[in-house]
């Protein structure tokens, strides 16, 4: 069964304290690896898509990387407004298909 596992489940950081969130996947024939941000009571907001091992993408204080078995979301010098749940999702190859989501990492940045 395809699985996506995120760690840690929750992370509390001080403002400016950099860290990384992990997403490991066992999807066969990965078509794409997605990162989303979700604020309480809202729908997920798209951040990045990664297609192949070695790929990296950046947006402001966030950088996503991909290997053959896992993806990392690096947060550099975070601010309180970066507090959210970060979701990782994998899409298997071939045709239109739903995403397999991890359970998310709940990130809190304290001022």
């Amino acid at each position: 069964e395809d699985q996506v596992t995120q760690s840690p489940e929750a992370l509390r950081l001080q403002e400016g304290e950099s860290s990384s969130l992990n997403c490991s996947y066992t999807v066969s024939g990965l078509r794409g690896l997605f990162w989303y941000r979700q604020d309480p009571g809202k729908g997920p907001e798209f951040l990045f898509t990664l297609y192949s091992a070695g790929e990296e993408k950046e947006k402001e204080r966030l950088k996503a990387t991909l290997t053959k078995k896992e993806s990392f979301l690096h947060i550099t010098a975070p601010k309180p407004e970066d507090s959210a749940t970060y979701l990782c999702a994998a899409q298997e190859g071939g045709g239109a298909d739903g995403l397999t989501f991890g359970k998310g990492t709940h990130l809190i940045i304290q001022p």
């Binding site: 009571g41 798209f46 239109a96 989501f101 991890g102």
Partner: protein, 114 residues
């Protein structure tokens, strides 16, 4: 910007009622999806559609049906609502691109079944 809208943000229904959740996207996307999100379980795919009048079961289709009569609109139907269908329901759409297609989500409908 892609816009996905859902008909209600909050909905309260009674057990046994027939419930319709509506989703509309304005970007001419081919694919549309319905997920539910529950604490500790994450997002799980209920149904998706890759074309008008076409539908495919996701991971948890039991107790649900869908309808896609027009390209921009995808409805989720709970034929007889039950308390275990209390959840956050999220609609998404994507343009059918290779190698992969990003799904964009609506704001969600929080459904409570009493």
């Amino acid at each position: 910007d892609v816009k996905v809208t859902q008909s209600s943000r909050y909905l309260v229904k009674r057990t046994g009622e027939k419930v319709f959740l509506e989703c509309v996207q304005d970007m001419d996307h081919e694919n549309m999806f319905w997920y539910r999100q529950d604490p500790g379980l994450g997002l799980r795919l209920i149904y998706f559609s890759y074309d008008v009048k076409m539908k495919e079961k996701g991971d948890i289709p039991e107790g649900y049906s869908v309808s896609r009569e027009k390209k921009e609109r995808f409805s989720l139907i709970l034929e007889s609502a039950s308390t275990n269908q209390t959840s956050m329901y999220l609609c998404a759409s994507s343009l059918d691109l290779t190698p992969t297609d990003t799904q964009y989500f609506g704001p969600g409908t929080r459904l409570t079944v009493l």
